[in-house]
């Protein structure tokens, strides 16, 4: 994928929704690849979670903005958030999943810093999502590596 242009609040949230949506699709496909069991169950739970995060991001874009402080965004380098959400084989699912969660955690953590001085409520949402990514990573490690 091309690195996203993250130039303002709308483009940032749009990209985040793309990431969440693609991640949800990835986990759904991964659950199919993994077959019945604890791993597939976790994949389905994470698919639902990422799908629901799309809704949260849409609400954030709609309700947590204030046109008074809609300043241009600088300092987010789109190359740091390039992701690949294709679930190709059972063996690659754990690594791909962790890569996606890592990109998500990085995007939201860094976005929360940028948004902090502009849109405090949006920054809170980003922080919450980043924390959730970190927890997901731990759950993935425990399931696939533990």
């Amino acid at each position: 994928m091309e690195p996203p242009e993250l130039t303002n609040f709308g483009s940032l949230v749009r990209f985040a929704i793309e990431l969440e949506s693609a991640t949800a699709v990835f986990y759904t496909a991964a659950a199919g690849l993994l077959g019945p069991g604890r791993s597939a169950q976790l994949a389905l739970e994470l698919a639902a979670q990422h799908e629901s995060r799309c809704g949260l991001l849409v609400r954030t874009r709609q309700q947590k903005l204030n046109e008074m402080v809609l300043e241009p965004i600088t300092g987010l380098d789109g190359r740091r958030y390039v992701f690949d959400a294709a679930a190709s084989s059972v063996g690659e699912v754990p690594g791909d999943a962790m890569a996606l969660e890592t990109v998500g955690a990085r995007l939201y953590e860094e976005s929360s810093v940028v948004a902090k001085s502009l849109l405090t409520e949006a920054a809170r949402t980003f922080r919450k999502l980043s924390d959730e990514n970190v927890r997901n990573l731990a759950a993935l490690r425990e399931t696939f590596q533990g």
Partner: protein, 497 residues
């Protein structure tokens, strides 16, 4: 043909056809004999035709409003409020469509359009608190022993609102939710340059179940405005536009005995003190000057860096401005859209030319900006330096993406400039000094004061300011001022014998 990008949002409709008027709960044809093309400012393509409705059309809307009024005013405030809760939910559901129509029709970027629709919704939310907001008060033995005194706030009848092109969704909402929530009926006349979002709003109002005639919408221009000002059954007029027209509307409507509130133009100063945190404030100044392509009555227009702040601010500001991505507002990565029309584009470009001819230094020149695939009305971010007080660009409202940098010796000089300006809409100071900020707030004669904030736009529960030639009237739009504007006070003195 416009180039598609991955970040380009789809338009709600490509073409909205010939617009109608919404009168008595129905869409009806205008009697207009003249029509105006409504163009997408980014593409230059016609996206609708706007009827220039006649005084007869205004009269039809007023008659519908008048017929609805008695029953509406007798509807208890809590019941009236419930319509607004429903409308609020509908606006949330259709938020994205509303914002995209604003962007398509006005040209502002989608983030700004979303911000505008958010503000419209916030006014609905505040107006939904009308049972508390319009309560009167009472005092036992207030007149004498055994004689009580109370005050009631009552609706007057039919009001009308005339709104400008720069905030096609929001400005009508500064007025009508308060007018209708307090028990009046409404006739809206949106700007003929970008009326599409109000068409969509009228559909939502209808879906929310407001009784027919409570909210009406007439598309038009000068004839419609004159029809509103002169109509004997309209009790009051709310207006926002240029100072010249605001003065005319104020005088004409008032001469017919109406209540009038008229917002006008502006020429807002941003003052930067040497102790300001430049890295932090420059993005905010950029947003103030170039947001909505400078077509905002709160936009920063003149920039003054005091002492050694001038050069540092101008350099950082110009650098940041030069990086702004200009394009079609529905492309989510774009940071500044076009201005509203070809005519307005020529006007703004003319001001830049004039500034240069009069001796200003063009530090950043937006005159040659072109956007690939979009032949619309773009003007790039422009920075003029060495602007002196006698120059046209220092005095006139440009209403475009142009920052004029001036030098002044002291904060006193800056405040003096603000106070001598014929306009008094807004003024901002950037500083780390509480003393300087307090002094500025206390002394600057402008209706909205920003402290480390370049767009000091009152939230729905505060009145939207404006002094001198920026506002004619006494009670302002929004909040408690709006509730008072749309109600008549009645004192009742009671003695039981």
């Amino acid at each position: 043909m416009a180039q598609k990008t991955a970040t380009l949002l789809p338009e709600v409709e490509k073409n909205y056809g010939d617009l109608k008027n919404f009168i008595g709960g129905k869409w009806v044809d205008s009697t207009a004999t003249e029509w105006l093309d409504d163009t997408n400012p980014a593409t230059g393509e016609r996206i609708a035709r706007v009827p220039l409705s006649s005084k007869e059309d205004i009269d039809a809307a007023v008659q519908a409003a008048k017929a609805a009024w008695e029953e509406w005013r007798e509807t208890p405030p809590i019941s009236r409020a419930r319509y607004f809760f429903t409308l609020r939910d509908l606006m949330e559901q259709h938020f994205e469509e509303l914002a995209r129509i604003v962007s398509q029709d006005h040209g502002k970027i989608i983030d700004e359009a979303r911000g505008e629709v958010r503000r419209a919704i916030e006014n609905v939310e505040v107006a939904a608190g009308i049972p508390s907001l319009m309560m009167g008060y009472t005092l036992e033995d207030g007149a004498a022993a055994g004689i009580d005194e109370e005050i009631l706030y009552q609706p007057l009848g039919v009001f009308a609102g005339i709104s400008p092109f720069n905030f096609p969704a929001m400005v009508q909402f500064w007025f009508w939710p308060y007018a209708v929530a307090t028990g009046n009926c409404w006739v809206a006349k949106p700007s003929e340059q970008d009326p599409l979002v109000q068409k969509y709003v009228a559909d939502l109002v209808n879906q929310a179940g407001f009784p027919p005639g409570v909210f009406n919408l007439v598309n038009g221009a000068k004839d419609a405005v004159e029809g509103i000002c002169d109509h004997p059954d309209i009790r009051g007029v709310s207006f926002v536009g240029s100072t010249n027209v605001a003065k005319l509307v104020y005088a004409r409507a008032a001469s017919h005995g109406k209540r009038v509130q008229c917002g006008g133009g502006a020429k807002n100063l941003l003052v930067v003190l040497p102790d300001a945190k430049l890295d932090r404030i420059v993005p905010n100044m950029i947003s103030s000057v170039y947001g909505t392509a400078g077509e905002r009555c709160l936009a920063g227009s003149l920039v003054v860096g005091l002492e050694d702040a001038h050069d540092a601010v101008r350099k950082k500001f110009s650098e940041a401005a030069s990086k702004l991505k200009v394009g079609y507002g529905l492309d989510e990565t774009v940071q500044m859209g076009p201005v509203i029309t070809k005519k307005h584009q020529e006007r703004v470009l003319g001001y830049i030319d004039k500034g240069e001819q009069e001796g200003a230094q063009v530090v950043l020149d937006g005159r040659k900006v072109r956007v690939s695939g979009y032949p619309g009305y773009f003007v790039g971010p422009t920075v003029l330096d060495s602007v002196s007080p006698d120059m046209t660009v220092a005095k006139d409202e440009i209403f475009g993406p142009v920052a004029s940098f001036m030098t002044m010796d002291s904060l006193d000089d800056a405040i003096d400039w603000i106070n001598k300006s014929p306009y008094g809409n807004a003024a901002s100071i950037y500083t780390s000094s509480g003393k300087a900020a307090r002094d500025f707030r206390y002394r600057a004669r402008a209706g909205s004061i920003g402290i480390n904030l370049g767009i000091a736009a009152a939230m729905a529960y505060f009145p939207f300011g404006g002094m001198k030639n920026s506002f004619f009237g006494d009670l302002h739009p929004q909040g408690r001022d709006a509730v008072r504007f749309f109600t008549e006070s009645k004192v009742v003195i009671t003695r039981w014998v």
